[in-house]
Amino acid sequence: MKKLLLIVCLFLAPSIALAAVGCDLNDPDRDIARLFPASSGYKTVYLSIKTSGGEAMLQRVEQRLGDSFHGLYETIEVPYTLYEVHQGKEIIGYVHGVNQKGEYGGIQVFLSLGTDGVIKSFYIQKLTSKAAKELRSKQFGAQFEGLSLKDFQAYPPASGQLPTSGPLATLKNPAPAAGQDFQHVLRAVKKNLILMDEFVFSKKKR
């Protein structure tokens, strides 16, 4: 009987292994506690451009990004998961991730942000790339700490050229010979920050 079940598992395994599509944290309880050690809990909010602002918001996001949404998976309907991190009743930060098409596979880039929109930490949850080890290293991630959307405004994802001045000028590509995934990660960070501004920070100001 055990044998039969194992065989069933063998052929059903790929669907189990890859069933989690979207950009949720794999283990939110563990990850939020790691990213915000002072947190006492979190609230999960599900959002999309379609339901939050529709076509007008999509155009605004694309304009701010300096690149259009493209491909089968970057659409107005894509759901985003926002983790609102609490300490008691107070919100102390946010965790938000986006999917990004990489050169060799999907990239999931998460940012933890303070209530002022400044990056507290950077985390690549999943990455299929020749530069995976370097891009997931702590040293690479640490370069993003303290940056905010304002710093990324001068970055054009379409050309991938880093600005010559400002905080982004010092960002280092950890594996220049390993392809385009450094640029893809930067695009994901900028998109993530813009979406966070649209979903949370601008809304608060309004």
């Binding site: 065989i7 063998l10 790929p14 669907s15 890859l18 069933a19 098409k101 299929t128």
Partner: protein, 395 residues
């Protein structure tokens, strides 16, 4: 005023009591209908999952089931294989309609999640695999051109996770090999949604497994004696035969113990509800003792009184039963989500399938049990003696 409106008005005299009794019946009807729907839905989905595999018999190397766990845990190292020559041997059997070879390999990808995960790749034959999986449709692109092409076909969820479209490169981590995406499948609701298919020759080359397979999928001709065929396959050296019908029987067998327990609970719920019906109707009869006596003194026959009380029971059970059936229809998806949470393996597709036959059967069962419960109170009422009843009422 007909007998139904009299019965209805009698039930309305004690609204809370009637509502609670009907609620009990509704709950038992809900359990019964959901269970019957699960019984049908699970089997249908399991059958569909097995049919969607495209073959009825799976041939693997002996000991392979235990190594399936190895594949998942260690990324496919140390697996046992069957020789590619087995394809010709099996194809020569007169019972065989088609054979498709498969080679599953896995690599540990440290960059998936916090602790890494195994990425699995299924090597399939470009000629024989697609005809066995006719239900698979492409969102874009198509199957590989040949068995040695550096190409991949991705199931819908695998493509979404890897953000791949046709023409894109896909990296196989661990062995650092690149393939091009030749096709992306539409969502099929099966295990294929999460699978990355590669041409057989490519997997054999990339993973240094020339001439080796992990499994053969066998589609047999109609009217084949499956038991005899399986016995013949066992004559082959070092193979394990898995009939998918056998897999289905095993899973259904495991599930049947759980079903018996739940069915027993459903029956207990029905019995408790019916005890409530007896209690409610009997109390109603005793409370109306004098009134029934007056009705009889005015010329009502015992059969009329019996009919009146029995109609009350039927109304109560009908209302409760219908409410329970509607509740089960409304909560079918919720029940399904709960079942998926608790069962270790559930097939794809709807797990709770409800239709008119199930609803009708459950309604008739509840009504029959209710009418049976109403027999005694109705009989007691029909036996009331007018003079005794009026004297008791005046006392």
């Amino acid at each position: 005023m007909n007998i139904y409106s009299v019965a209805y008005k009698n039930l309305l005299r004690k609204k809370t009591r009637s509502a609670l009794t009907a609620g009990g019946i509704a709950l038992s009807a809900w359990v019964l209908v959901t269970l019957l729907g699960f019984n049908r839905g699970y089997e249908q989905s399991l059958n569909r999952d097995i049919d969607n595999m495209g073959f009825q018999v799976l041939l693997t190397a002996k000991g392979c089931p235990y190594e399936a766990a190895t594949l998942m845990l260690k990324g496919g190292t140390g697996l046992r294989y069957i020789k590619e020559g087995m394809v010709k041997t099996v194809t020569a059997y007169p019972e065989v309609e088609r054979v498709t070879p498969m080679l599953m390999q896995g690599v540990f990808d440290p960059n998936k999640g916090e602790n890494g995960a195994v990425a699995a790749y299924l090597g399939v034959d470009a000629l024989t695999f697609p005809p066995m999986k006719r239900y698979l449709e492409f969102k874009e692109g198509g199957w590989f051109k040949d068995n040695n092409a550096r190409e991949a076909v991705l199931g819908y969820e695998a493509a979404e996770l890897e953000q791949r479209e046709i023409g894109d490169k896909l990296l196989i981590p661990g062995i650092n090999a690149e393939v091009r995406v030749a096709g992306v499948l539409k969502r099929s609701g099966t295990q294929d949604d999460g699978t990355i298919f590669l041409p057989m020759g490519t997997v054999q080359t990339l993973f240094s497994k020339k001439g080796q397979l992990t499994a053969l999928g066998i589609k047999v001709k109609k009217d084949t004696d499956m038991d005899a065929f399986e016995n013949r396959l066992y004559d082959l050296p070092d193979v394990q035969v898995v009939s998918l019908a056998q897999v289905k029987t095993t899973i259904m067998g495991l599930l049947s113990s759980a079903k018996v327990i739940v069915l027993a609970l459903a029956l207990i719920a029905v019995i408790i509800a019916m005890a409530g019906v007896i209690n409610t109707i009997l109390m109603s009869v005793l409370e109306r003792y004098g009134e029934i006596g007056i009705i009889k003194s005015m010329g009502a026959m015992p059969r009329d009184v019996f009919k009146m009380i029995w109609t009350e029971t039927a109304l109560l059970c009908s209302v409760g039963g219908l409410t329970g059936i509607l509740l089960s229809l409304a909560t079918a998806r919720l029940s399904e989500a709960a079942i998926r949470r608790f069962l270790p393996y559930t097939p794809h597709g709807a797990l709770v399938v409800l239709d008119g036959r199930i609803a009708g059967f459950a309604f008739l069962m509840i009504l029959a049990a209710g009418l049976l419960s109403g027999l005694y109170p109705a009989w007691r009422a029909s036996r009331v003696r007018p003079l005794e009843a009026m004297r008791a009422e005046s006392d």
